[in-house]
Amino acid sequence: MRTAFVNELENIMDKDENTFLLTGDLGFSVFERLRERWSKQYINMGVAEQNMIGVAAGMALTGKQVFVYSIIPFVVYRPFEQIRNDVCYQNLPVRLVGVGAGFSYSDAGFTHHAIEDYGILRSFPNLTILSPADSLEVTAQMKQINSLGGPSYMRLGRNGEPILHDKQKFLKIGKALELTRGDDILFVATGSILGKAITIGKLLESVGYTVTILDYHTIKPFDDESLLKSLDGKRLVVTFEEHLVTTGLYSLVAQTILSNDLSIRIIPFGIGESAIHYSGTREYMLTQYGVSDQLIYEKIKKALG
């Protein structure tokens, strides 16, 4: 995902001398070419993230498009108030880009886990929140990103996430992508964990169930319409995310369903709040929260009776 982001950013900077990249001292082996070529549009802001966001806001106030890059906790949690007041309140074209979605940096421990980011950010005004599932989605979103007048946040994995789409599908920011259409179950997923939804969907189809899979590459604005349309006739909704379910995709789905006076069972797969003290591989971490192919499959099968 990171490579796709950098390639597209270079394409943008190629055409637009008013696009900038600020990095919080991160990007080893990623930004070398860009730094060389656009030495005035690339700034390593050092280990000072609050200032980095404020500077981005100041540049945006004087007509610039500014990408701001770091690991998610450092680009979201540390400068939280600068994002709220300077960027979102003022509706400025600042493009936050965070690497390390969910447990991408699982071994690094709790300080580096990014499991609350879009839950927190969805409460801010004017912000578009992007959560691409693979590098093809990153590319498609980057091609549209500068047409957003206001701020955005893009949640990236690291590198080497599997490609989940056959080819670059037509993806429109703000509109959920339907990957499969079925009658029995609705899967709603965001981010690279979409891969699990696709795998489980195939398993369920092999035992006679048909599944609709909706890919929410955009968390905000939340596409209520596609969700409500796809609910029709379903027995069960399952959400997939590498994020706290309490503030994440599950809560968005549940809220949409409830506020439309509908009643349907929802099973969330994501991060529970209790056990914050693990570290290990990404698969190990997810399994601790019941998010493994086998555990998901069993739980869904049981729910279907």
């Binding site: 008013n18 005035k40 549009q41 700034i43 802001m45 050092g46 000072a48 609050q50 200032n51 966001i53 404020g54 500077v55 981005a56 806001a57 100041g58 540049m59 945006a60 106030l61 004087t62 007509g63 610039k64 108030e81 600068q82 007041n85 300077d86 309140y89 003022q90």
Partner: protein
């Protein structure tokens, strides 16, 4: 402003009176910002990082023709755009502020951006002495010095009081000065109530090519009203009905 605070019972009149003269000097004598050029990018900029002094800015914007008398007097009324802290919906306001420690970063971003685009505008940023305790202010100072932003002029309203303390009991101004100097700023002092002194200092910026300038403006909280001057409680109090006439008389106004 005395009447405004009397009517709305809002806080911070002391902080407004310590920085009002600085804003008057900038808007009427120094800066290239007018209602006519405000919509252009190629001009000077003013960031009121101590956003709680916004009513003083509103008064200046009114007298400089940015906002109407009606708009100015709508301050504190329901539905008014003029809140206790400023936002860009008010014509003439360059950025929203209100939380301390944000303004200098925004100002530095603007200054870098103007330089990059070969625009000759300067960015003026008004800080409180208290807000230099914010780590982010020092982050911004580092950045501006390192990027040689000599089109950035920061002014510290050194009224020696903050919300709940003598500022020097928390952090001495000498420590602030040292930090800016160590970050490659050139620093000077001025009397923040002496227009001639301020004028000569501002016209001398940048003090040094390739360095941002810091002016420590020595001021009095509540300047001009004996009962308010250098008194911590006027960070919060507003003039009572009984006080209004006396205060206005001291300020040379007519009641």
């Amino acid at each position: 402003m005395v009447r405004l605070h009397n009517r709305t019972h809002t806080s911070h009149i002391g902080s407004e009176f310590s920085s009002l003269d600085i804003m008057v000097e900038l808007y009427f004598d120094v800066m290239d910002i007018t209602p006519q050029n405000f919509s252009s990018l190629d001009r000077d900029y003013f960031i009121i990082s101590k956003g709680h002094a916004a009513p003083a800015l509103y008064d200046v914007l009114f007298r400089r023709g940015f906002i109407t008398k009606d708009a100015f007097e709508s301050y504190g009324k329901e539905g008014s755009q003029l809140a206790e802290h400023p936002k860009r919906e008010v014509f003439g306001v360059d950025t929203a502020t209100g939380s301390l420690g944000h303004g200098l970063s925004i100002a530095a971003g603007m200054a870098y951006s103007l330089k990059y685009s070969n625009m000759k505008g300067k960015v003026y940023c008004l800080l409180s002495d208290g807000e230099c305790q914010e780590g982010s202010t020092i982050e911004a100072a580092n950045f501006a010095g390192r990027m040689k932003l000599d089109n950035l002029i920061a002014v510290i309203d050194n009224n020696r009081l903050q919300g709940y303390e003598r500022t020097s009991n928390i952090q001495n101004i000498a420590s602030v000065k040292n930090k800016f100097e160590a970050s490659s700023w050139s620093v000077s002092e001025m009397n923040g109530h002496d227009f001639q002194d301020m004028r000569s200092k501002f016209l001398n910026t940048p003090f040094k090519t390739g360095e941002p300038s810091l002016l420590i403006a020595n001021t009095l909280k509540g300047k001009g009203v004996l009962e308010m001057e250098d008194k911590l409680e006027w960070h919060y109090k507003s003039p009572s009905d009984v006080e209004v006439e006396n205060f206005i008389k001291q300020l040379g106004g007519s009641t």
